[in-house]
């Protein structure tokens, strides 16, 4: 907890994006989380991604539940829309908002408690329905606000700060998201912004349900020996399958990597992802392969990170429901209520 506001001064040489904003313009209030919290790095990554994409802050809705992670939307995009919902209920609030106004960019921010325990069902259904959103779980494997009990994503066999061993099986949210049909699935680490920032940027550009599981060490309760979500453990066991660069705009991609090591994925919004392979055999378009790969590596205690699965041609809930292009919240009464003649005609069609 810091008592002073972050100084307004910024580096005189800061670059500006297309809108004329520096990355400082995408900040929110100063964080009230513990010093060193991984969540603050995710906050910084979201700020960086939105800055790089030149997103207009008023086009973003950030929605969260309850928990350390769900406090973070206060710390980024101070000029965006926000809704801090009930514990575990971010997905339904986000779904409702998305249905009402399909034109906004939806950032769902949640934690392992919020999404893997109390809101597990909500998480599952929003993914299953293909809501057009970027769903970020800030995953530290521990209930920080209540002083360090294991959460549902804590690995079996890992140790709490007090030395107690976890005997429950862990929920792997990435595996679930893949199984439920998420069309953009990634895992990253708060201590690796070079990987995380482009992943968030690519997820924002994706049409459909994007899910990112970010391992985010809890400095206060889960950064000790025996933890599988500590800085040291994640760094030692991080198995990145690829690295990506997000290319905004329509410029041709000049790639100077060895042939076959870069794959260009064009997204629905016209942006492009240049995917640099680290694991030559990994195919991010193979959902089943990804699931097997994850399971095999998890058994070896490895944490697979990178863009694990993407379907660039995915569609979303609005496509499924065949809604109009105009956001529902802007439809006027005469459109919504076309009059008794139209009603009679409709009723007649059902007779």
């Amino acid at each position: 907890m810091t008592y002073i506001a972050k100084p307004k001064f910024h580096h005189p040489g800061l670059k500006k994006n297309e809108l004329g904003y520096t990355h400082r313009d995408y900040e929110g209030k100063i964080s009230t989380l513990c010093a060193g919290c991984g969540h603050d790095s995710i906050t910084a990554s979201i700020i960086e991604a939105c800055y790089e994409l030149s997103i207009e802050p008023h086009r973003v809705a950030k929605i969260s539940g309850i928990g350390c992670s769900s406090k973070t939307p206060d710390y980024f995009l101070g000029n965006s829309h926000g809704f801090n919902s009930v514990h575990g209920r971010m997905p339904s609030v986000l779904t409702g908002a998305n249905l009402a106004n399909r034109d906004l960019i939806y950032l769902g921010v949640s934690g392992d408690g919020d999404s893997a325990s109390i809101g597990f069902g909500q998480f599952a259904h929003s993914i299953r329905r293909g809501v057009n959103m970027t769903y970020i779980v800030e995953n530290n494997g521990v209930y920080g606000l209540t002083k360090g009990q294991f959460s549902a994503t804590a690995d079996r066999g890992s140790k709490s700060k007090k030395g107690v061993t976890n005997t429950d099986n862990a929920i792997d949210l990435v595996a679930i998201a893949l199984q439920l049909g998420a069309t953009f699935v990634a895992r990253s680490f708060s201590g690796d912004k070079a990987q995380l920032v482009p992943l968030i940027a690519a997820a924002i550009g994706h049409k459909g349900a994007s899910f990112i599981d970010v391992i985010s060490p809890c400095i206060a309760f889960n950064n000790h020996a025996g933890s599988t979500k500590s800085f040291d453990y994640v760094r030692e066991h991080n198995d990145a399958v690829n690295r990506l660069d997000v290319l905004v705009g329509r410029d041709p991609i000049a790639v100077d990597y060895a042939p076959g090591t870069v794959q260009v994925v064009e997204q629905h919004d016209g942006s492009k992802i240049a995917l640099r392979k680290i694991d030559a055999d990994y195919d991010p378009h193979d959902r089943l392969g990804a699931q097997t790969f994850l399971a095999r590596h998890a058994a070896k205690g490895q944490i697979v990170t990178g863009l694990l699965y993407v379907d660039p041609d995915a569609d979303d809930l609005h496509t499924h429901l065949n809604t109009v292009e105009t956001p529902l919240n802007t439809l006027e009464a005469d459109t919504l209520c076309p009059g008794s003649a139209a009603l009679d005609k409709f009723n007649a069609s059902l007779r």
Binding site: K6, F9, G13
Partner: protein
């Protein structure tokens, strides 16, 4: 890059840009914090120790510290360091009991030629050590150019009397009205050492047609100012031209405005920006309705049978050669004559040593300047030292003070039988400022205030009396606001590699994007990898040793606000805010001793 050696005294000293830029290395942030706390006497004493004349310098210093001030790199204007110094002098209590006591004499005698800032600094350093100091000056009172050349409306006599008095009261013997006419005779008096601080007393002449004929109304600037200062001159014609673009020209024109000059103009060869005068002195002149006319070179004094009627100027323009050097070349336009009743010539000052005989063992160079060692200030006669303008030509008071301290150290070492070329290292104190989890002993909340203006006396009143001080100085409230603008650059960010867990918290919170974790490389490469572009390569990079991941922490010291947020957000205490206090060695403190710092 190799890991930064923060134990080297210069490393953190350079981060305190103001102190590094000050010739006397005054601990600026330290005294500004004391002003903010209302501890004016403590702030004054810190200044007095370093720069000897806080009240005088707080009104007249050329402020090399202010262009260096980091605040000027993050917003438009630096902290008003100079005028805060005056605040310490204005609001202090009686400090006489805190001054050194005249001590028992050690039997050694030192003579001083000239009673200006350089000599008085040496005397202040030496007198408390028991030296018998005798200061000779042609003028009746001590102060040298501070008293004779700086107009009273900028620097009242009371301030000069007070601060020269503190020195003379240390048991220094002052022989006023006693001009030294012969070095040989002085040497014959068998002083143990002689310090020459006689300044640059000769105003440069402007030898153009009409000079001799119109001599009655053409005056040399510094001589004229001196005559005004002693009351020998109390009026001037209505139309006055001041020739020259330095601070003396500014003093001349403003003085002329107060002695009856109604239409006073400053005419300068160069362009406005290249003028030697400090920007604020030009502003003050313009504020008193004195136009500054540029790119005119005087070619003749126009006179009517010996009665000056004007000055003829050639119009020039600036041209730059391939190497970027500026040349003033005739613009081809017709010459211009400006009518006037009097001319003040302020086109430079020169040294003059007609009183030093050739066989004194003091050698001179081809520019007729004494050969003086720039570190020890000794001349080719091992007993004779030079300092201030007399040593290296006209500079400012603060340089004379800095040189005086060094010369005093040399004299003390010489008369203690030590090697004067061995210069002791400065004393450095480094201490953590942590008071609690998020509590520091300094105010780390950065003020967004713009520079506060120093209140001036109403122009109509100010122009009526030459002895009425124009600047009123900050009041307590304004002083507090201005003091809060200081970024506390002496409270250093100190990094401990072994404690860092590379969580990025400091990178994320730093408002100035100063901190980068990256792979190591050569300095030129590292500057390319920084999170925000490196704008000033002269500002150091603070590089850690290798971290666990093999990367290094690189901090660009350039625009750090010293807000301490990196240390507040660091979960392991790898960052700490530590106050770095460096005190330059002065005569008598040759061996660093443990002393209590003020805050």
């Amino acid at each position: 890059m190799k890991p930064t050696d923060i134990a080297a005294p210069d490393y953190f000293h350079k981060v305190v840009d103001c102190q590094w830029a000050c010739p006397a290395h005054t601990p600026v942030p330290e005294y500004i914090r004391l002003i903010a706390q209302g501890r004016y006497s403590d702030a004054y004493m810190i200044n007095w120790k370093s720069n000897v004349f806080p009240g005088i310098l707080g009104r007249t210093c050329d402020r090399p510290c202010e262009p260096a001030c980091r605040r000027g790199r993050v917003e438009e204007t630096p902290v008003a360091i100079c005028r805060l110094k005056r605040v310490a002098a204005d609001f202090k209590d009686d400090i006489t009991h805190r001054l050194p006591k005249p001590s028992a004499k050690n039997g050694k005698r030192v003579a001083f030629v000239g009673g200006g800032p350089a000599s008085l600094t040496v005397a202040r350093d030496l007198a408390p050590l028991g030296y018998h100091c005798t200061v000779f000056d042609g003028d009746p009172e001590a102060g040298g150019m501070m008293r004779t050349q700086i107009p009273k409306f900028r620097l009242p006599n009371s301030v000069i009397d007070e601060e020269t008095g503190y020195i003379l009261n240390l048991g220094v013997e002052f022989k006023g009205g006693h001009r030294i006419e012969s070095m040989k005779a002085l040497l014959a008096e068998k002083y143990d050492a002689i310090f020459v601080g006689s300044g640059a007393p000769r105003g440069r002449e402007l030898d153009i047609p009409g000079r001799k004929e119109a001599a009655a109304h053409v005056h040399i600037g510094i001589d004229w100012l001196s005559s005004v200062s002693f009351g020998h001159i109390d009026k001037i014609g209505k139309r006055v031209i001041v020739l020259g673009g330095g601070n003396t020209a500014m003093d001349c024109c403003r003085t002329a405005r107060r002695l009856g000059g109604e239409d006073v103009k400053v005419v300068v060869r160069s362009g406005f920006e290249e003028m030697k005068a400090s920007p604020w002195e030009k502003e003050d002149a313009i504020h008193e309705d004195i136009p500054i006319i540029n790119f005119l070179v005087p070619v003749a004094f126009v006179h009517d049978n010996g009665k000056l009627t004007g000055v003829t100027f050639q119009k020039v323009k600036a041209e730059y050669d391939a190497k970027g050097r500026r040349n003033l070349v005739p613009s081809g336009e017709p010459d211009q004559t400006i009518e006037c009743d009097d001319v003040l010539v302020a086109v430079g000052q020169e040294n003059a040593f007609p009183w030093i005989e050739q066989d004194c063992g003091i050698e001179f160079d081809k520019w007729h300047m004494p050969k003086v060692d720039p570190k020890t200030f000794v001349s080719t006669n091992p007993k004779v030292f030079f300092g201030g303008d007399a040593a290296f030509g006209p500079k400012n008071i603060i340089w004379a003070v800095a040189q005086g301290h060094d010369a005093a150290l040399s004299i003390h070492k010489l008369l203690s039988g030590e090697d004067i070329t061995e210069r002791p290292l400065p004393e450095v104190h480094v201490s953590s400022q942590k008071m609690g989890i998020h509590e520091w002993s300094y105010d780390n909340d950065i003020s967004n205030d713009k520079r506060f203006k120093v209140p001036h006396r109403d122009k109509v009143i100010a122009l009526k009396d030459i002895r009425t001080e124009v600047e009123l100085g900050y009041d307590v409230k304004l002083a507090l606001g201005e003091a809060e603008r200081c970024l506390n650059c002496d409270v250093q960010t100190v990094f401990s590699t072994s404690l860092c867990i590379e969580c990025d918290a400091c990178v994320d919170i730093c408002p100035m994007d100063c901190i980068t974790f990256t792979e190591n490389g050569e300095e030129a490469d590292l500057r390319q990898y920084l999170k925000a572009p490196s704008l000033h390569p002269d500002q150091d990079l603070y590089v850690s040793s290798d971290l666990k991941t093999g990367r290094v922490m690189v901090k660009d010291e350039d625009v750090c606000l010293h807000c301490g947020l990196c240390a507040e957000r660091c979960p392991t205490g790898a960052w700490d805010m530590q106050k770095y206090l460096i005190e330059m060695t002065q005569a008598g403190s040759a061996c660093p001793t443990k002393s209590r710092s003020a805050a």
